[in-house]
């Protein structure tokens, strides 16, 4: 059925040429569209795309600098750094959300031996950070095997990087943890706050303690690695344009490492011995040591403590919970622990009364074991002792409560001289130490304070004579609202209690150290400082930090001498309350025991000591919660610290004085 070629040839349609022309026009239009689009992309807006392409290919990876060291006054290391193998994730390089990404999480979790949900949580928490290429720290101190395994199988772990990073290291562990502070990733709020301005999201910064106060000096400047990476995020070319990180400057402090260590040993010893005296465990303690002539802090500590290194790397929930479970281990009790101070307040009472003319050096009073004011308010010496009538020095030496009860009663009829003196010496206001918050203010109670307290509570909890719904279940609120106040109005009894450091009085160990420093140094009320100098990484002086400042108060030298005599007697005269502890101490010591009474639990032990050394004067305030009498726990702890300070043999010498 082969046709002849001529027959086979179908006629060409007449409009062929025209239709070919139309086809040609269609093609020209298509090419025109593409041509204009290319012109637009490459010639008109090409520059922008070039910048975008560079951002894709050359990835800046921040190199965090080592944080500056924190040193004690002799150059001993309190906080340094070490190098640790780290596994981090660049969220943008992970596979898209879904099974592929979960697979990477699971694989990584198996290698690292952690839960994959944890990895997801870490990435999700920081994925919002604006520069998407900031690697998110997943794990520091990765076991060597896991680190190598991941590094050699990059294709199995897209978005995962292994690298060496600088990690904060606290060689002393628990010692001084709360003073040095914690590190943590910068928070969203902090990003906009002044000390952190310019710091990239995801950076680890100081969150408390000295790490926070001196953040700006310690941080250093991150370097940048410009790394050519492929679509999977792996470097494809040699590192280029590396800008080395600038290590942070060093912070030199006035702390004395030996004294700091001894402080922790001493209060731990006091806590360990507390059950023998009180039958109960002593949960917590704090101490402050400062130079009364310069205002510099020599040691400062708070227990229970925690290992500061736990916060140097991302802390696990378990570790954090364990630290939190320890009675407020993260609170710096030395500056923020507010307590009644017991008899350590008596020198303040004495000065206030002397200034107001309520007593003189010759005033003799306090006989009897109890004194009664009005008809019902009866106040007694501890253990019912009767010291007979004593003068001021004797009253301080033996801590005679009845003497000060009478002073307190007399002062209540005057214009609050005790309160004025306490405030003058720094109680009731923040000491302004160079730690976040500057130290708590505490309370110096008076009639106005009770009124304000009542007004505040009633406004907060009461609607008329009934509690607001939120407080309906509180018996306290029901009572307070029905009677219109929380606390009865100021009574003479309150002032009597204040005279012995009880009642509503609240002060921190730091405030007591500052107050005693002012008494012994002639009236300089310090804003104490820990930071001293800023040194370059190589140790050259960069900046002398501002010296501690003080407020000068009027302190009559005669009155000062009287109180000092009382304090010296209390420590080193045979009738003194802490004679058992300091009577044999080879240095001149001024000191005062305190025993703060807490309803329903063992007493809180206080001791504030002053050692007048021409070169190394020191004031130490120690308190041990539920530690028993001042002479039993705090005084021997103070002795251990003073022994350390003066290089003397260290012995635990507890007294048995039951004076408050």
């Amino acid at each position: 059925m082969i046709e002849s070629p001529l027959q086979r040839r179908a006629p060409l349609p007449p409009q062929l040429t025209r239709r070919v022309g139309v086809l040609g026009i269609v093609v020209v239009v298509m090419f025109g569209v593409i041509g204009f689009r290319l012109w637009y992309l490459q010639v008109l807006t090409g520059t922008q795309n070039a910048a975008r392409a560079t951002a894709l290919v050359v990835r800046p990876i921040a190199i965090q600098p080592p944080r500056g060291n924190i040193l004690d006054s002799h150059g001993n290391l309190l906080a340094g750094y070490r190098v640790a193998p780290q596994v981090a994730i660049v969220a943008d390089d992970l596979p898209p959300v879904g099974p592929a990404r979960r697979l990477v999480y699971r694989r990584l979790a198996r290698v690292l031996g952690i839960g994959w949900a944890h990895i997801r949580a870490v990435v999700d928490d920081t994925a919002i950070a604006p520069p998407g290429y900031a690697p998110t720290d997943v794990m520091d101190d990765v076991p060597q095997r896991a680190w190598v395994y991941i590094g050699e199988r990059k294709s199995l772990f897209p978005g995962v990087i292994v690298r060496q990073v600088y990690v904060r290291h606290y060689p002393e562990g628990d010692v001084g943890a709360v003073v040095l502070g914690q590190l943590g990733q910068i928070t969203t709020q902090e990003l906009t706050q002044s000390p952190f301005k310019g710091i990239a999201a995801g950076t680890v910064v100081g969150q408390s303690g000295l790490e926070a106060t001196y953040q700006a000096y310690l941080q250093g400047t991150p370097g940048v690695d410009h790394v050519d990476v492929d679509a999977a995020g792996y470097p494809i070319a040699a590192k280029s344009n590396t800008k080395q990180p600038v290590p942070g400057d060093q912070l030199s402090t006035s702390l004395d490492l030996g004294l700091e260590r001894e402080g922790y040993i001493a209060v731990d010893e006091a806590r360990a011995r507390a059950p023998q005296a009180t039958g109960q465990a002593a949960p917590a303690a704090a101490f402050v040591a400062m130079d009364p002539t310069t205002g510099r802090v020599l040691a400062l500590g708070s227990v229970p403590s925690y290992n500061a290194n736990d916060f140097a790397t991302p802390i696990s929930t378990g570790t954090f919970d364990a630290i939190k479970a320890e009675d407020h281990a993260l609170v710096d009790r030395a500056i923020d622990g507010l307590y009644p101070t017991g008899s350590t307040f008596k020198p303040i009472t004495a000065l206030g009364a002397l200034n107001a003319g309520l007593i003189t050096a010759q005033t003799l009073q306090g006989t009897g074991s109890c004194v009664t004011f009005g008809t019902t308010q009866k106040f007694c010496n501890s253990g019912g002792s009767n010291y007979g009538d004593v003068d001021l020095v004797g009253a301080l030496t033996q801590s005679v409560d009845t003497y000060f009860y009478k002073v307190g009663a007399a002062a209540n009829d005057s214009s609050d001289p005790i309160q004025s003196e306490a405030r003058a010496l720094g109680l009731g206001s923040s000491p302004g130490i160079d730690l976040p918050g500057g130290g708590s203010a505490g309370v110096v109670p008076d009639a106005a304070y009770i009124r304000a307290l009542n007004a505040q509570y009633v406004a907060q909890a009461c609607a008329g004579s009934h509690p607001k719904p939120a407080y309906a279940k509180s018996q306290l609120a029901v009572t307070a609202c029905s009677q219109g106040y929380l606390q009865p109005a100021w009574t003479i009894g309150q002032n009597v209690l204040l005279a012995t450091g009880q009642g509503f009085l609240l002060a921190s160990p730091l405030q007591m150290a500052v107050a005693y420093s002012a008494i012994v140094n002639g009236g300089k009320v310090w804003s104490p400082k820990i930071g001293w100098k800023i040194l370059s990484p190589s140790g050259a002086l960069v900046q002398q930090l501002p010296a501690p400042t003080y407020r000068k108060i009027a302190l009559n030298p005669a009155y000062q001498a009287l109180v000092m005599a009382g304090l010296h007697g209390a420590a080193q005269s045979p009738s003194g309350t802490s004679y058992a502890t300091f009577g044999s101490f080879p240095r001149t010591i001024y000191g005062k025991t305190g025993t703060a009474v807490h309803t329903g639990q063992p007493d809180q032990s206080w001791y504030v000591a002053y050692a007048p050394d021409p070169r190394r004067p020191i004031v130490i305030a120690v308190t041990v919660e539920r530690g028993g009498f001042g002479a039993a726990a705090a005084a021997p702890a103070a002795r251990l610290m003073l022994s350390q300070w003066f290089g003397l043999p260290k012995h635990w010498v507890a007294g048995t004085s039951t004076d408050l």
Binding site: I2, S4, P5, L6, R8, R9, A10, P11, L12, P13, P14, Q15, L16, T17, R19, V20, V22, L23, G24, V26, V27, M30, F31, V33, I34, G35, R37, L38, W39, L41, Q42, V43, T45, G46, T47, Q48, N49, A50, R52, A53, T54, L56, V57, P96, V97, G98, D228, V229, D230, A231, A232, I236
Partner: protein
């Protein structure tokens, strides 16, 4: 038409085949040079991405070139008699691919694995379908009305189209439709029927992409289209996969600027642009050689299409004109869609860029098409020589 010199051929052979040898060496020089130039562009571009692929592409191009020359020596007119055979091979190959074919990129099955090289039936099917449709139109044109012809041609084209779309290879399916449309158009079918076909096609596309997802159609195609039309409507994670290719491609192309980044071009080389040697090779080209390089390559395609249109007009018979028209549509459509996707004016469809994209099936298919064009050109020259037709460039 000019009068023929030979009135009564004795052996039933076309006199054209008896023409002097000198005239029979009739490769269109511009077409040939442009094709070789595109092959060089492909090798240069691939060289910046993958040495192994560049070497293999060189092999494919050489084989393709030989195939083109060989094919140009045959009289395409013989293929008319084989039209049903070609159609059966076309459908059969696609079915085999669907049945036993292996997956490329984990999603679609487009090729039959033959140990040496995996063969994509849908690619070579383009040429097979064009020849078949041209033959079918020629054989039916005197027997059927325009309406019937259009209906039959479109139905016959739709069978392989639906099959390759089911693979799924939407791109090849669209090429089939475009080629069928061009064949009908050049065959002189009335414009109203073509308009109706066009309307049907748009409706079908809307159905496939719009309703398809509801009845289990591969979601990645619908996703790409949705992401292209309205990036805000797709969840971010899916946008990343659907729009990622195009975004990266745009960035790379733009980065090329006027004269390209040359060897510094790393976006495409570093795999930021997926499929950077196949569907998105244009991005690699435009990044390395800039607007200038892209314009040169597009000009080469324009040259080829111009020559092909000339061949349509000069073909010695309708069969040749229709084959050439189908090939014009195939090449122009693939260039337009492939580059259109790369420059983000069309949704991602998965069409190769003729001669540039890495891949044996695509290269061979294009050279077979060019070989057919050369054959039509040669036959036209011979016929013109014997018939005294004037053939001008």
């Amino acid at each position: 038409m000019a009068t023929t010199v030979i009135q009564t051929p004795k052996q039933g052979r076309d006199p054209a085949t008896l023409a002097p040898r000198a005239i029979r060496i009739g490769l269109d020089p511009i077409l040939t040079v442009a094709a070789i130039a595109l092959g060089v562009a492909s090798i240069v571009t691939l060289g910046g991405i993958s040495h192994a692929q560049m070497v293999r592409q060189g092999g494919y191009l050489a084989v393709g070139l030989v195939a083109m020359v060989v094919l140009s020596r045959f009289d395409y007119s013989r293929l008319r008699e084989l039209k049903w055979g070609l159609y059966v091979i076309l459908i059969g190959a696609i079915l085999v691919v669907i049945a036993i074919g292996k997956s490329i990129g984990g999603i679609s099955t487009r090729s039959i694995g033959i140990s040496v090289f995996s063969f994509q039936a849908s690619e070579v099917g383009k040429v097979l379908l064009i020849v078949f449709l041209a033959a079918f139109v020629v054989d039916s044109s005197r027997k059927t009305t325009g309406r019937q012809l259009v209906a039959r041609v479109m139905l016959l084209a739709l069978v392989p189209t639906m099959l390759v779309i089911a693979e799924p290879d939407l791109g090849s399916g669209l090429v089939y439709i475009a080629a069928a449309f061009a064949v009908l158009y050049i065959a002189g079918v009335e414009a109203k029927y073509l308009a109706a076909v066009l309307a049907l096609g748009v409706a079908a596309l809307a159905l496939v992409l719009g309703v398809g997802p509801l009845v289990g159609f591969h979601t990645y195609q619908a996703e790409r289209l949705t992401a292209f039309l309205d990036p805000g409507a797709v969840p971010a994670s899916q946008i990343k996969s659907a729009l990622y290719q195009q975004q990266q491609s745009l960035t790379a192309i733009g980065a090329g600027q006027k004269f390209g980044l040359g060897s510094v071009a790393t976006n495409t080389a570093a795999n930021f642009v997926p499929l950077n040697t196949t569907d998105f090779i244009f991005a690699a080209l435009a990044e390395r050689f800039g607007f200038a390089g892209a314009a040169v390559v597009l000009s080469l395609y324009a040259l080829i299409i111009w020559r092909a249109l000339r061949i349509v007009a000069a073909a010695k018979n309708l069969f040749g004109a229709l084959i050439a028209a189908g090939i014009v549509a195939m090449l122009a459509f693939q260039v337009f869609v492939n580059v259109g996707v790369a420059v983000d004016i069309l949704p991602v469809t998965g069409v190769t860029l003729p001669l540039l994209s890495y891949g044996g099936s695509s290269v061979l298919t294009t050279f077979l098409a060019l070989g057919l064009l050369q054959s039509i050109h040669a036959q036209a020259r011979i016929a013109a020589g014997t018939k005294g037709r004037v053939l001008s460039f």
